[in-house]
């Protein structure tokens, strides 16, 4: 084959298209495979009944609740801390060695495997603070785990707000804080929501950090001081212990569908928010 601009262009299109096609194919295959095996198991009873015989029979209702509660509490803790850090770094400091160390630290935190967070949570929250296996221990651990994601995405979103908006706000007699509240955060919100969505996704899918800190109780939790089991942990135990492959796939299917639901819902909310601000 003769190398000419025309041929290399054709080759590039083929390779890039192939890469995209392969990625999509793998994604579709995984989803179809799991939904194919899992969907037949799902019924109202499967969703809303309590499990029996360790999950071999019955439903997954407590794990559904656990999967809902744990990420919510984690985000509730991580969001103010993360957005606060991002605002502080981008609005209240100029680039200096201290801010570089904070950024380096958050980047390192982002690279730590989740099992390490699990062990830390186990040693610190569960054992040292004597909180035991409970939703709060798990949520605090997950909050630390997703903090870097929230800080980084929020900071990028905040930096993307035009500097001219800040100038205008200040020139109209706003303090820095009023500018943050009225101009910077509303305009950074879509980016912040994206970070929150990524974080919720990670929390929902997390097993290692959860199993060590929130435990794996199949009872319905009554407060954040009760242990719980998330769907991901349930799936892991069902498959690992060979309790029930069908129910494991059923749980996985519900897990995937919930992630899709959460994502669609948040994008819908975000678009509504943007539309209302700029109608």
């Amino acid at each position: 084959m003769i190398i000419s601009p025309r041929n290399t262009q054709a080759l590039a299109v083929t390779l890039l298209g192939g890469a995209t096609g392969l990625t999509l194919a793998i994604l579709v295959f995984v989803i179809v495979f799991i939904l194919g095996k899992g969907l037949p198991v799902i019924s109202l009873g499967f969703l809303f009944d309590n499990p029996q015989e360790m999950g071999k029979a019955g439903g997954i209702f407590p794990t559904l609740v656990g999967t809902l509660i744990l990420p919510l509490v984690a985000i509730f803790i991580a969001l103010p801390a993360g957005v606060g850090t991002a605002v502080y770094l981008s609005e209240y400091t100029v680039e200096n060695p201290a801010t570089r160390i904070i950024r380096f630290g958050t980047d390192c935190l982002a690279g730590i495997p989740s099992i390490i967070f699990g062990l830390f949570g186990f040693i610190f929250f569960v054992t040292t603070l004597k909180m035991g296996w409970c939703i709060l221990s798990g949520a605090l651990t997950l909050a630390i785990m997703v903090l870097p994601t929230i800080i980084r995405t929020s900071e990028e979103a905040i930096k993307a707000v035009p500097a001219s908006y800040r100038e205008v706000s200040c020139s109209l007699g706003a303090t820095r804080w009023e500018t943050v509240l009225k101009v910077v955060l509303p305009n950074a919100l879509p980016g912040i929501v994206t970070g929150v969505m990524l974080s919720i996704g990670r929390c929902i899918g997390e097993t290692a950090a959860v199993i060590f800190t929130a435990g794996a109780s199949l009872r319905l939790p009554h407060s954040v001081f009760d242990s719980t089991r998330t769907m991901a942990v349930h799936f892991y135990i069902l498959a690992r212990e060979g309790i029930s492959n069908e129910n494991a796939y059923g749980t996985a299917a519900v897990l995937i569908l919930s992630v899709l639901l959460v994502n669609s819902l948040s994008y819908w909310m975000m678009n509504r928010f943007i539309a209302r601000r700029t109608k």
Partner: protein
């Protein structure tokens, strides 16, 4: 001139990092007049303007020397509140920057910060300031649509109205017509002339003809120095300095 002095720049300098943008300017801004500031790019016009409402404070590399007195009080003394200063000294920027809010919310941004909540009062401010900026008739039916949808000229008049709604004492304008067509420019100029009875206006402009048309007093800055200031007619017809003469007659700049 026996006019009252609203703002007095006293031997005032501005540095951006190691660069000196303004060299010891001493310039009075007469009350209830339009002061035009002309000069080629890089002459320090904008630096001077942004010093007068301390917007330079936002730039950590910026440092100032000397004094700026507003009604005789130094605005750079340590315990002077820059946020309150900016409510008294409003600014219109070169490019119109409406906030991504409705027209109404743009205009009441400043008043709300000052604690004005009553709907009737806010409505009155919006109508009054839009009237004064000659924009009311064009937008009165769509006050609650996004300000981003206005044309460039309308956006700049909105920015002027937004400043007027703060009921400031001084209005600083930084080349407000640089991106506008001649008709929009004429509207803005018309508004400024009507406004000078109530406000003190400082107009930085790249367009010497604009200064000739609207300014009562004109100052010529060149390379960070104040070359000459005087009644506009005199600056344009018989300037004392050769450089002023060259600039206003279009020989450079």
């Amino acid at each position: 001139m026996t006019d009252a002095v609203k703002i007095a720049n006293r031997n005032f300098s501005v540095f951006y990092g190691a660069t000196r943008a303004l060299r010891g300017i001493t310039l009075d801004v007469p009350a209830h007049r339009i002061l035009g500031i002309i000069g080629p790019a890089g002459s320090g016009k904008t630096a001077l303007l942004r010093a007068m409402n301390r917007l330079n404070d936002l730039n950590p590399d910026c440092r100032v020397e000397g004094q700026i007195l507003l009604d005789g009080v130094d605005i750079y003394q340590p315990d002077f509140d820059a946020v309150r200063l900016r409510k008294r000294v409003g600014m219109v920027f070169a490019l119109p920057v409406p906030l991504p809010l409705s027209l109404f919310d743009n205009i009441v941004y400043g008043p709300r910060l000052s604690g004005i909540r009553a709907r009737t009062r806010l409505n009155a401010l919006v109508e009054g300031s839009l009237q004064a900026a000659f924009l009311w008739d064009e937008v009165k039916d769509r006050l609650h649509t996004s300000a981003m949808r206005l044309s460039g000229g309308q956006q700049q008049r909105l920015c002027l109205a937004r400043v007027l709604a703060m009921e400031p004492e001084v209005i600083l304008l930084d080349e407000p017509c640089s991106g506008l067509d001649p008709i929009s420019t004429a509207r803005i100029e018309e508004a400024l002339i009507a406004l000078k009875s109530k406000y003190t206006i400082v107009l930085v402009t790249n367009n010497t003809k604009q200064a000739a048309r609207v300014a009562d007093t004109t100052a010529f800055l060149f390379q960070g120095e104040l070359v000459e200031v005087g009644p506009t007619g005199q600056i344009f017809t018989m300037p004392k300095d050769q450089r002023t003469n060259d600039y206003v007659s279009g020989r450079f700049g």
